[in-house]
Symmetry: C2
Subunit: 164 residues, 2 copies
C-alpha cells in the first residue's frame, strides 16, 4: 500500500542525502519526493510517497527519527488529509485531435500555457490518481514529449498539535 | 544566481541518493527538488533549483552526466521556459482578518480547500516568486501552521530535440 509521509528537517547540507540514503540502503522504495524550505528558511518540508506494509512504514518512521536533521515525521495517509500534485506536460497533438485534447483538458481543469513549434505545454493541479487518468487520456491522442510531476504534497486537516 | 535544472534518470533504487550525494559531497546546494516517474515508469524526471556561477552550473552538469542513472540534463533557466510551483498552507486567521485573507487569496488565484478546527488549508499553483509574495502577505494576517512547497517544475518552450 502507498503511504504519503511528511518530514520536517533542518535545512542543512547533506540532509536530503541522509534521508534518501536511509531509504536506499535499507531497500525501502521512494515513489516520488518533493522538498523545499518552509516559511522558516532554516527548516524544509519533505513529502514522499513510499510503499510497504504498516510494519515497514513504522520502521521507516523510526529510522527517520534517528537521522540528525529530522525534526518531525507524520504519516499523512493515516490522517484525514488533502493531497495535491502539480503536473506539467509537453505534447504534440495527433492529426485532427486538438479539439479532443481541449475537451479532455476542460474535463480535468487543466490549462494550455504555451504553444510553440506546435508543442503544447499543459499545467494541472489535482490529486495524483486524477493526474494518472489525464496522462493516459492524453497519451491516446498525442505524442508526449515531456512529463514533469511533483508527486503529491499533503496536509492533514485540522489541529494535530504538530506542525505538519 | 539561481538555476533550475531538469534531469531524466533511470528509476533505479539509489538513483536519488547518488544525485543528492554528488551535490552534498561537492558542496553544491540544493534549494528545492521534486522527483516522480514520467509517463514511462522506468524513467523519472527530477527538477531541482541550485545556486552558483555559470562555471559552477557547468561543472554540476558534467558531474551529473557521470552518474550511472542519469540519462539527460537540461539547464532549463538558459531556455525560454514555463515554471510553476505548487504550494499548500495551513493557517489560523488572526482575529477579524478572515476577509482580508480572502481578498489576498483572490488576488493570487489561491483557494481554500478545507476549514477544520478554524484552520484553513490553502492551495495555489504559481511561479515561485509569486508564492513567496503570497506567503509573506498571509504571514502578516495569520499564524502559519504548516507550509508545503514543491519547488518549481519547469518545461522549456518548443522543440529542443531533447525530451526535456
Amino acid at each position: 500500500m502507498k503511504h504519503t509521509k511528511a518530514i520536517l528537517l533542518q535545512n542543512e547540507s547533506g540532509a536530503l542525502t541522509r534521508v534518501a540514503s536511509m531509504f536506499s540502503t535499507r531497500g525501502y522504495n521512494i515513489d516520488s519526493l518533493s522538498v523545499a524550505p518552509t516559511d522558516n528558511p532554516s527548516i524544509s518540508r519533505l513529502t514522499l510517497v513510499t510503499e510497504g506494509s504498516d510494519e515497514v512504514i513504522g520502521q521507516i518512521t523510526k529510522q527517520l527519527y534517528k537521522l540528525i536533521d529530522v525534526i518531525d515525521v507524520l504519516n499523512i495517509s493515516q490522517h484525514d488529509h488533502i493531497e495535491r500534485e502539480l503536473m506539467m506536460i509537453k505534447l504534440k497533438a495527433n492529426d485532427d485531435k486538438e479539439d479532443n485534447i481541449k475537451t479532455v483538458l476542460y474535463d480535468y481543469s487543466a490549462t494550455i500555457v504555451n504553444d510553440k513549434d506546435r508543442l503544447l505545454i499543459i499545467e494541472v493541479m489535482a490529486n495524483p490518481l486524477k493526474n494518472d487518468n489525464l496522462l493516459e487520456a492524453l497519451s491516446a491522442m498525442s505524442t508526449l514529449v515531456a512529463v514533469a510531476r511533483t508527486g503529491p504534497l499533503a496536509l492533514a486537516k485540522g489541529d494535530l498539535k504538530i506542525n505538519l
